[in-house]
């Protein structure tokens, strides 16, 4: 009877928003072909299940890992060889106010200073008053650097001839500079600026 009570005590109670998800039963190396012995299931709060997680063991067995997986971690599609990563809509509160595209640009020596998540600005300096071609978020460093920009600014940035790059340092926000091509919705600009100010405010 005591052991029964102890068992009840030790078993984590499942909550309404818990999700049963397949996880690695042990640390799994890259190149491992998954079988049932490699997997177990646990209940996780919905907030801890990555949006691209493959939650069913049946969908994992037979697949090969492209990257290692830590013990008791859900396995996301990006860690599997040849599995299409589902396009995941961002949460409503993180939804960009305007459509965005990714653009690859060479950034010279400053590429060594940027990381994913950094804010950069591209300034046109070859004609007229300097103006901002696009404010961008770095998606992937390297050569070239991949950045995400408002879709309306994508073509201009992709075709720009050696724009000057501005790189945001810590604890600051976006300066008030003229855009070469205004964003279509004034409200959208306000929303993006407000989101950025919120990000840097303590």
């Amino acid at each position: 009877m005591l052991s029964l009570i102890a068992g009840l005590w030790l078993a984590p109670p499942a909550l309404a928003d818990d999700v049963t998800v397949a996880v690695a039963r042990m640390p799994l190396p890259a190149g491992k072909k998954l079988d049932w012995d490699d997997l177990s299931t646990i209940k996780l709060p919905d907030a801890l299940v990555p949006p691209t997680a493959v939650v069913l063991g049946a969908d994992l067995v037979g697949k090969t890992l492209a990257l290692p997986v830590a013990v008791q971690s859900p396995i996301v599609a990006q860690r599997l060889v040849g599995v299409e990563v589902p396009v995941v809509a961002p949460p409503v509160d993180a939804m960009p106010a305007v459509a965005e595209v990714e653009v690859a640009r060479e950034m010279g020596v400053v590429a060594a200073l940027v990381q994913a998540g950094d804010t950069v600005g591209f300034v046109r300096t070859d004609k007229g008053t300097p103006c901002v071609l696009a404010w961008a978020e770095v998606v992937k460093r390297g050569s070239p650097v991949t950045v995400r920009v408002p879709a309306v600014h994508g073509p201009d940035l992709a075709s720009a001839h050696e724009p000057a790059v501005l790189l945001k340092g810590p604890d600051t926000h976006r300066p008030d500079l003229p855009l070469c091509t205004p964003l279509p919705l004034p409200d959208a600009v306000d929303a993006v600026d407000a989101a950025e100010r919120k990000e840097v405010s303590p």
Binding site: P12, P13, P50, Q115, R141, L167, P175, L177
Partner: protein, 160 residues
């Protein structure tokens, strides 16, 4: 009954997850992480709860948005690249014509030199300078002109 008691006594912990995709070599910053508050019981082993223990460490195995940050995926601490830029500054290109530690961004006008931004910091020897936020618009406006970084001169007038 015991479950209900367990629920009542369960403590919440903060679990660190990746806010965005973080490639190999990325040096973790606080803003790369999302904190998720969950009940401590049943949490997978090795889950990182304290962001300060991982900020500054290098990503050894790529992390993907929403994944729990795990120590196994991280390597040793490294300098965050952006820490080369002083707080409250933006980095932009400029011709550097001094080796002085005290520098201003100046512009040559018909009447002589004037100061675009005082107290700028040369970050990369190859021509990158950190400019205080308030002076970024003026510095950007001078990108096409004959602007350069020179030894600070408190007596030089400001550009208008």
């Amino acid at each position: 009954m015991m479950w209900l008691l367990g629920l009542a006594l369960a403590q919440d912990v903060t679990v660190q997850t990746a806010r965005i995709d973080l490639p190999e070599g990325h040096v973790l910053r606080a803003r790369d992480l999302s904190s998720v508050s969950v009940a401590e019981r049943g949490l997978p082993m090795g889950t990182v709860t304290d962001a300060t223990t991982v900020v500054g460490r290098t990503v050894k195995v790529p992390l993907f948005a929403g994944e729990m940050v795990r120590g196994e995926y991280l390597g040793p601490p490294q300098t965050v690249p952006e820490s080369l830029i002083p707080e409250g500054h933006w980095l932009l290109p400029a011709e550097v014509r001094t080796q002085s530690d005290e520098t201003d961004l100046v512009k040559l006008l018909p009447g002589g030199f004037c100061v675009v931004a005082r107290g700028v910091t040369v970050v990369l020897e190859s021509g990158w300078v950190a400019v205080p936020f308030a002076r970024v618009p003026a510095a950007v406006a001078s990108l096409r002109s004959d602007a350069s970084v020179r030894r600070a001169d408190p007596g030089m007038r400001d550009c208008r």
